[in-house]
Amino acid sequence: MSHSRPLKEISCLFICSTREMRNLLARVIQQVGIGNVQEARDLDLAKQLVRTNNFDLIIWAGSDQDYLDLLRHIRYEARENIRKTPFLCVTSRSDMNFLIEGRDAGITGFLTMPLTLRDTLRKVNAALDDPREFVLTPSYVGPTRRRKTLQEYFGPRRRAEDGPTSQLQTTPTALPAASEPAIAIKAPQGPTDRPPGSQETLINILEDQLLSDWQDDEDEEAVEANGPIKHSANFRRRAQVVREAFRLVTHINEILLDPNGSPESSKSRISEPFNRLLNLMALVQAYGKNNDEDSDFFKEKYKEIMNSMSNISANLLAGGLERTLHQSQKMVNDETSSSLGGAYKTYSKMSEYEALIGLLGGYPSLTTAMLDQVKQIWENVLLLAERGDSLGVLDGTDEKKMRQVASERLVSAQTILRERPAADSQNAVLQKMRQP
């Protein structure tokens, strides 16, 4: 992938109103090798500059949407020479509305924080090399919004070729609950007024729920029909799921790394994106198991997401288990507390962590210390349930289910713990034998 001119000869207008961001991005743009950079601290100055100067690339950085005005000005009013200039938006925003509005104003691409040189170079090259047709219609001016590659991002399309899903999108479906102990695609519950669901249909429905929708633009449809590249509609949707999963990983990391966020506030901010991520990952995992031409690709992507996830999960888990053990221990020691309520509280907490543990590869992948905590927590759940005073927190069946799950999980933890020292000592024996 190389455009005709070296980056050294590219002229770039770069607009950013906050000093720290501007200085950082100026470095990044320089390190990527762009030769001529004109800096503007505000949009008014930028507007003046595009009136008289030509640029090969325009980069705006920030978190407001005030750049839209400049972008529309360029796309609709500005001189012919500047009209089609690639426009990149650098932002830490990742909410769909922000992206959609940029897209509808004719943006070329987004570069999301945190930055890397690699990513910046890739996006700059992609913007300069944009293969998409430039659309000029009364309602839209900009690169065609029909995305062709994963790299270029953006959402699933709802078209006839996308299969039966489109008619079904109003069907309410139940997503796998976060409290399910493992990630698996659960059959949607609720009205079953749709054709006998193949796994594929099921997955499409989940995708539709998990990804925000994009409106199709009718006047682009014609342009698009003659477009050169066609990935299958399914592939595009799946690629978007992968993209979205990566985005959520970044987003969750951002929350976790926020120095101003208290553990409590970050936990509540994480829970929604985290549950979505779990659901998306279940999808990507399923794509990898499809046994079609793309399944290897998705297997690979699943592994990559898993890797980024593991760090997050391990951190969340370590803190969470410790807290839960501590709290449940306190309840066990305190005879006066409502023990059945306590049992249930601990149980629901653990259900969340079980999902995380599932992501990490199940109990066998936990450290012995963590596994020991897990074991103790399940013991506490059972202890508290045993002391239960039936305050009506749970009805009989729920209580029974809770006890059952708790004892099952306790047994698995104990089994693995028992096997561990054996394996360790076996290793020690082998080690000894190898020594001269």
Partner: protein, 158 residues
């Protein structure tokens, strides 16, 4: 809590006579003021900015060391192994600090800037000086250091 010492800067006497390497070295020196500025700010994007600087620092380390090592290898530089060891040791230190930060020990970034400036100054004066005159604009890769990095997402383009 600014360090009482004045910030170290790249000066002409630190030049090794190769433009691309001098530019890399200057990039290392600019990490400290950049971090300091971000740490002093109350920008809502602060953590994203820090994270970006850390990403870029990792890329500087990787790309610049590669540039030097490849060039030194190409001229059969006798001290290559020792030089690589020095690079690796620093790279490891940087990586450990970044990891520490990412695991929640946020304060560690405060000492990162001065550490880099210190190290790069010493390293240029003691190690890089040894290839003075041997590496030239002609036998060193001129491209921006990002081009020397392999791109893990290359296989993402299809």
């Amino acid at each position: 809590m600014a360090s009482p010492e004045p910030m170290l800067e790249w000066t002409e006497d630190l030049s090794v006579g190769v433009d691309s390497i001098d530019e890399d070295h200057q990039a290392f020196f600019r990490v400290e003021p950049m971090l300091e500025e971000i740490l002093a700010s109350s920008d809502s994007a602060r953590s994203m900015l820090i994270e970006s600087v850390l990403n870029i620092l990792e890329e500087y380390v990787e790309g610049h060391f590669l540039r030097e090592q490849q060039a030194l290898a190409a001229i059969d530089f006798p001290g290559l192994a020792v030089h690589i060891k020095a690079h690796d040791k620093f790279a490891e230190k940087v990586r450990a600090i970044i990891k520490d930060y990412r695991q929640g020990n946020l304060a560690v970034v405060e000492s990162l800037g001065p550490l880099i400036s210190d190290w790069i100054t010493n390293h240029i004066k003691t190690m890089d000086r040894q290839y003075l005159g041997l590496l030239t604009n002609e036998n060193v890769d001129k491209r921006p250091l990002v081009c020397l990095l392999d791109d893990p997402e290359d296989d993402l383009e299809f």
